[in-house]
Every structure is written in structure tokens, then in C-alpha cells.
Symmetry: C2
Subunit: 344 residues, 2 copies
DNA sequence: TATATTTATGCAAATGTTTGCATAAATATA
DNA sequence: TATATTTATGCAAACATTTGCATAAATATA
């Protein structure tokens, strides 16, 4: 009765109780084919009876594999990231993986630090949204060398050839702009995000391309770049747009905060929304249903994006042919959500 | 040159290179006192030179300790939880711990499943916000038995004596209500959450107590219970309140969504806010700064709550006197944020 | 100087699981 | 029936680190 005390039940205890070897028990547990049905049942029953469960640390130690996926994002408490992570976790959990989360705070040094830690700690894989200050990717390239699967989400990483899951920002923004054009808008402005960030650049391009393809001119003064797409910056930009001498009748915003700000400003300037100006946001934040009028916007499918990233990663972890594949880029479809801030 | 290939550098490699024993290297790495300054330096230099880092799995395997904190919450993509987790992660990371996150989806069975997994996987500790369906706590009591530190956050757990970090909901709601009374409101309604959930019960009690202490009557028909405190439920409740024959001049809402809904409804009924009715929310969600007028509310300090929970847990993990303490309950202070939806 | 104490280091075992190799038993083939 | 093949199981080593115990070296005490 070596284990009558609080110490954990091991494979050996099961083996001893059944007069079989530890190997046999281990093989049953991992569904090894070369085990007879009879012993398989015997072992499984005993395992249940004794309430045994495998020690994951010991298992990882021996096999050099873990069931733990590292996730690095700038911050967890940003609506978009929390949704992506929710999707990552759901899929991972249902497939037997755990996720360990880190916040880089958009700090390049910290991001490198976390990445290198993850690399030496036998993470099964890494899902990362690189920080805004991250422009070199050596810390990520190391994962390829170490043969640890890697998936980047949301931000494009020029020069790093790796698995990516992204929103088709260009297409989404194009779609949003086209929606305004089709409903009759002729003079459409844009409140854009930091143009050194690829996704915001893509949103501006989508907007521009939609104008061009529909024969509308691009007017530089109707494009207002902001640093953080904050509500406050939105107020400022919208004010400037409301004060141009010729009226605008449409506004494509690169997120919902600036769009909400624009609604407030144009209402103050006595524009009827959507009759005199159509305003559309991006992301489908909770606020979009609360502002008055309710905001038309683009749903970025963040949760789904997380699921896809998780799936892609786990596929690569488990697929032994992994080395044959090089990498994949997946674009997530967005959805145009038409509410009351744009004409039908 | 055994390790010229891709295999990892071990303590033995360092030992061999310096002609010392592995024990010595290990002791340097864990700051064991019985090591001379000279060898300490020698080893540390070699460690840097060879780019060695300890294998955390092997270390955990031998020492039966991990640096991994389990976190279970209903969902990650809820503003409150994502902020708490952000705080947990920040503090944990700065103290050498990692967090592994799970979503219970408010599903009792899943919560139990995750908890039991965490218990057998050598988690250093657990931080949990129990789900709405969780009314028995055997799965958490096991942690105490297994001597794994446990901290519950946000939801009270009657009958479970354990470490808790909570908002003082009673006091916060009291404070909010008193703010309205002091600014001259005489007839104050309340939109409340599910009364089987302790925190929402406490918010109702805080509201009631403030009325009583200020000599105002409690009118049952001015208290509207909702199931989920959703924006839609807020619209319905506010409509009912706007249709009582005697006008109300104040409204305390148990969250910001219902408060935002109330603003919309009372504006529609041509009330001037805050002159004719003061409306206050709870939680300080992003929307509170965006609705018009900007919403007065209670900041629940979610990020700080996470930090405190993390700190409490790590204290208990590392404090060898842990068994001496029984448990602690910490109440986080809330902050009254006065914006434009309430009279000054 | 002899003995006691302190300080610094090494030895070797132990942790729980997995897995290559060996082998026994059972079955198929000639 | 003898041999070859397949199937099921066991043996024992390996993984990287930690730690109790032993001991050598250095220092303090008598």
C-alpha cells in the first residue's frame, strides 16, 4: 500500500494491480494498436476504478511534446483581441489543447522576450498578433527553425513567410464604400488609422479603389488620418470634415469609435443621418448598436478568426507532413451590416 | 561534441564545460545560498555564453511545481472579464508566472471538468469566476484539499470559504444612488439584474438602503428586474418606467447597457437629461463615454481586481506559511464617475 | 596544534512516462 | 509437423533536473 497516502497514482500502480507491465498500461492510454481488446478493457476499467489520470508533466517530459499553445497579443482587454482569443480557446479546448496567454503591450522587447521563452519551453505552437512596434521578425523566424508551428493573425508581417489569418481589410472597406456609393453618395470622406499599419493602409486602399471603380474623384482633404482611431480623434476629424466648404454626403470610418464620434458631430451640425450623410464604421463593436442612429458597420468576425487560427495551428502541430507544407495565408470573410446610419 | 546537433543544451553540458557537478550548476540557477561567489560567477557566465536556459518541464517534473496559473472565467470576450484577465496576466508575468485560460461558458459541467483537469496537472494555483449555474463548490473544495491555492473573483460563493476578490457592489450602488439623492432626485427607479446572482442582489440592496437612509420610500413598481441586463431589456424596462403615471426623476441602472437604453427612451419621451431625470450606470464600459449625454457611472476597477487576485494567489503559492492562513476576502473600491447624465 | 564548526561541492537516486528492442505466444503457411 | 509470420507483452533505458546525504576544504575555537 505504497500509495495509501496523498501521493499520486501512477501508471505503475495500475500495472501492479493488474500484473501487467507499465508499458502495457501506457500503450492502452495512448491507444497503441498492438494491445488486445481484453487487456485494453482490463486496464481502462482499473484506471477508472482507481481514478487515475496521466501526469501531463511527466508525459511531456518524456515525449518532448506539450498540449500547450502560446498566444501573444498586444492587450487582452481590447474587444477585438478578446474575441479572437475566445475563438482560439474554444477550438483549442475542444481538441485537447490549452492556451497560455501573454500581452506584449505593443512592446517589441517584451514580445521578443515572451517569444524566446515560449520557444524554449516546449510550446506546441504559437499564435501571435505582432505589436505595432514590431518590424523585424527574427524572433518569429526562430520558430520555423525550431520546427514549432506558428500562426500570425490580423497584422500582416512583410518579409515573414509564415501562416497568417487575416481579415480581408481591403475588400471589407471596398464593400463598405461601395454600399455608400450604391445608395447614392457622391462625396465620401474617410477617417483612417495609422498608415504604417498594414490593415489600416488596406482599408484606405479599399476606400480609394471603390471610388475609382465608380468614377468618383479621390479628394485628399476628405481623408483624415488618425493615430489611434480613438473617439476623441474621431471628434476632431469629423469636425474638420463638417467644416469643408462643400458638403460631404458619406463617411467611411476605419473603426466604430470614430464613426460614433462622427455621428455625434454631424448631428450637432444638423445633418440628418442617413438622409443627408451616410456614416459607416468598422468592427461591429457593441457601441454600434447603441449609438443613435444605430451604426452600419463591417463585422470582422473576430471570434471566427480565432477559431481558424487555432485550427490551422493544431493541424500543423498534429500533421506529421507539416514539413512538406510551407505556409498558408487565410483571409477571413467580413460581413456588411446595414443598420440605420446609412441609406438603404 | 555531443551537442553539436539541434539537441538542447542541458545543465550537464554547462557542468562538463566547467568541470563542476550538475548539482552546482542547478544550485547557482536557483540561487542556493551555499555557493561561493566565484563559482556562481563562473557558472552564470558560462550559461550566458552557451545560451542555456533551464528546461521548465524537466524542472517541474522533478520539483513537482509549476509556474502556471489556471484561470477560469465564463467568457473571455466580455469587457469585464477581459480587463480582469489583463490585470491577472500583467501581475503574473512580472512575477514569473504564466496564465492558462479557460472559458466555462457558464456551463457547470464544463467548469468542473476544467477544474479537475487543472487539479491533476500541477497548476500552481487557480483563479476563477464561477459560472452562473454553479451553486455547488465541491470541485473547488478539492483544491483546498490538494493544497493548491485558490482565488475566486467577482461572484460570491455562499458556503465556500476561500480567498475572494470582489467589488463592493452594495457600497457602489449605495454611492450611485446617494449621488442622485444629493443632487435633488426624489423618485428614483432601478433597473436590476438577475436576483439569483449575488452581485446584482447587492446592487439592489445598495439602492434600497440609500433610499431608506435618506427617508425616501421604496416603490416596488419602480424596480425592474431583467435577466441579462441587455440593451434590449433596458429599452423595455425604461419604457415601462417612463409610462408610470407619476414621473420619476432618477434612475439607477445595474449596468451601462441598460443605462444607455434608458437614455435613449427618456430622450424619446422628451425628458431633459439630466435636468428632468438623472440616469446613472454601472461598470464604466466604453459606451458610457459615447452615449449622449455622456453617462455617469461606477468604475468597477476590473483591471485592478485582476491584479489583486493575481497578487493574492501568488502570495499564497510562495508563502510557505500558507497553511497557517485560512482565507482572505478583499473588497475592491469602486469609483463614482460623474459625467453629464446626472445633475451635479 | 587539535578539534569543532562552517562553507562549498559532489554523488547518486528519484521523479512518471514513453519507446526501441527483445521475446513469448498465437496463428498462418508450406 | 515444421517453419514463418503476426500479435501481444515485457524489459530497461532515457529524458533534465533537484535534493538529501556525504564529504572535503576552509575557517573558527579551545
Amino acid at each position: 500500500m505504497k500509495n495509501s497516502d496523498s501521493s499520486r497514482i501512477t501508471i505503475k500502480d495500475i500495472a501492479k494491480a493488474l500484473n501487467v507491465s507499465a508499458s502495457t498500461v501506457s500503450r492502452v492510454l495512448s491507444n497503441h494498436p498492438a494491445i488486445s481488446e481484453s487487456t485494453r478493457k482490463l486496464v481502462n476499467d482499473k484506471v477508472k476504478e482507481m481514478g487515475f489520470s496521466i501526469d501531463p508533466i511527466a508525459s511531456s517530459f518524456r515525449s518532448k511534446k506539450t498540449k500547450s499553445i502560446g498566444v501573444i497579443c498586444p492587450r487582452i482587454d481590447i474587444d477585438f483581441h478578446s474575441k479572437v482569443i475566445s475563438g482560439i480557446e474554444d477550438y483549442a479546448y475542444n481538441n485537447g489543447y490549452q492556451i497560455t496567454i501573454f500581452q506584449s503591450q505593443d512592446n517589441y522587447k517584451k514580445e521578443k522576450e515572451i517569444a524566446s521563452m515560449l520557444e524554449t519551453s516546449l510550446a506546441a505552437g504559437l499564435i501571435i498578433c505582432p505589436g505595432l512596434q514590431t518590424h523585424k521578425y527574427d524572433h518569429l523566424k526562430k520558430f520555423k527553425k525550431a520546427n514549432i508551428p506558428l500562426v500570425v493573425y490580423d497584422r500582416s508581417t512583410d518579409g515573414l513567410k509564415t501562416n497568417k489569418v487575416m481579415i480581408n481589410d481591403f475588400e471589407a472597406s471596398f464593400k463598405a464604400t461601395e454600399h455608400l456609393i450604391k445608395s447614392g453618395c457622391k462625396r465620401i470622406g474617410h477617417i483612417s488609422g495609422d498608415q504604417s499599419v498594414s490593415i489600416f493602409k488596406a482599408r484606405l486602399q479599399g476606400y480609394s479603389e471603390a471610388l475609382i471603380q465608380n468614377g468618383l474623384p479621390i479628394e485628399e482633404k476628405l481623408i483624415k488620418e488618425t493615430k489611434n482611431l480613438s473617439y476623441e480623434e474621431g471628434l476632431i476629424s469629423a469636425n474638420e470634415l463638417a467644416n469643408t466648404n462643400e458638403r460631404i454626403d458619406g463617411l467611411v470610418c476605419a473603426n466604430d469609435y470614430t464613426a460614433a464620434a462622427a455621428i455625434k458631430v454631424f448631428k450637432k451640425f444638423n445633418y440628418n443621418i442617413p438622409e443627408e450623410i451616410s456614416i459607416i464604421g468598422f468592427s461591429n463593436y457593441p457601441i454600434s448598436k447603441i449609438v443613435d442612429p444605430q451604426l452600419s458597420t463591417i463585422d470582422d468576425n473576430a471570434y471566427h478568426m480565432g477559431k481558424v487560427a487555432s485550427k490551422l495551428l493544431i493541424q500543423q502541430i498534429e500533421d506529421s507532413d507539416f514539413e512538406r507544407l510551407d505556409y498558408q495565408e487565410i483571409l477571413i470573410k467580413t460581413e456588411l451590416i446595414i443598420r440605420d446610419s446609412t441609406k438603404k
